[in-house]
Symmetry: C7
């Protein structure tokens, strides 16, 4: 089963970082906090503008992204924990 996110939403699979890896991204505070990094699994058609046009998203499937720890809504699909969030919640693309 798959989700096709609506409009400017994306589906993100959280990447569990080893918090002791020197090159890993860790939010400040406890090293045991869940890192807010993930992989884009699906993207919506784009953001609906005030004039009715649709603007395609800047992120694409496969992008590794950074996002706020509490962004989006968590869902479980086929036993897999995913996050549905808006592109607006994504801070940047890692690469």
């Amino acid at each position: 089963m798959k989700i096709r996110p609506l409009h400017d939403r994306v589906i993100v699979k959280r990447v569990e970082e080893e918090t002791t890896t020197p090159g890993g991204i860790v939010l400040p505070g406890s090293a045991a906090e869940k890192p807010s990094q993930g992989m884009i699994l699906a993207v919506g058609r784009g953001k609906v503008l005030d004039n009715g046009d649709v603007r395609a998203l800047e992120v694409k499937v496969g992008d590794k992204v950074l996002f706020g720890k509490y962004s989006g809504n968590e869902v479980k699909i086929d036993g897999e924990e995913l996050i549905v969030m808006r592109e607006e919640d994504i801070m940047g693309i890692l690469g």
Copy 2:
């Protein structure tokens, strides 16, 4: 009796998932929480834009959708419990 939702609203019939099914969608927390998955029964004509145009909705009748557990307003029609929500409240289409 039927409801024709206005503008960007849709009528959704909640689908009761077996929470133990491996492929089912379960929101995190208690497995006994009501899953937020449903079937679109009716859609409005579209969202009225600032310039007066109407943008047709992206979801259509028959779509299986995912939505926030507290989205929309519950109504009972002909003994059937339905939810009236805005397309904006729908996170994605399952398929």
Copy 3:
């Protein structure tokens, strides 16, 4: 005496449902709660858009509509209890 509602407002006469009727609409909770169903008695000229244009309303006189229990303002005209609400408060048209 009549009211001509302004802009995107409508005049609704609440329909008192028998809460035990199987086909009736009952909001969840107590069966004794006032049902939020009514008949449109009058409609405004339409919503004034940001550019000054007026968009005609989608509901019309005679429509049976569903609305939130606390929507609008109640007024009594010629001994009749009516509600003045905005089209935006109407969830759908019953038919």
Copy 4:
């Protein structure tokens, strides 16, 4: 002395209803509450739109209008108690 209201404001003189009149408008609650009905004494030039245009008001001098009990600001001019409110606060025109 007169007030010329600015933009989308109007000057309303409250009409004191006999609350026992069958055809009168009485807000729900105590029959002794001040009715929210009045006569338009003056209107502004119109609402200034985002693009700078001015949209003339829909109400005109002499209209008998219905409005929320706490709408607008009360002022006393030449011993007469008046209300300055925005057209947006007017629910409908009585006639």
Copy 5:
């Protein structure tokens, strides 16, 4: 020393009314409350619209205006107490 107000702001000199004058404007409540009436001393170039255009103000120097008792910011210039407010805060022009 003079102030040239920016954009849609105006400089108002409060007019102290004799509260016992029959033709004076008195806000409801205590007759000793400061009346909210004043004279326009200076006006800004106009309101900057979303598209960058400037809309000239409707009030002009010399207008006697009515405004909410707590509108604007009080300043003292050359020993004179003045109020800087936005045209939006002015309810109407007296005349």
Copy 6:
């Protein structure tokens, strides 16, 4: 070292008024309160409009301006205390 403010921000150097000077501007309350008057040291390129255009600011370097006592953010540059604020926070130009 200098700051070039971004967009619609300006750099203001607060002018310490002698609060006993008859022609000085003093905000109401204690005469010992810091007066909110200053000199514009630098201005941004202008406010970015919704359509992407940039509107040049109305204030310019050297203007003596009046502003709310708590407007903007205080910074110290080369030992000098300055305020970074938006043009919107400036009430008027003194002259």
Copy 7:
């Protein structure tokens, strides 16, 4: 590993100032407070406007900028503490 910030976001590396340097920027209060000064390491493509156009940012890589102490989100990449913020949070460019 690098971050490419989305839209109107930028990546800033905080510059630790010696708080006793006469030419340094110190926010008022304790001299031991972290100064809010940094270097731009990466910029997004630009702010997405209401009409779908993208406006390039005014800051560029290498700019030394001033920003509010609590602006943006701190992240650690390859052991380096960085801040992801919106251009809107930047008060000015130092030079």
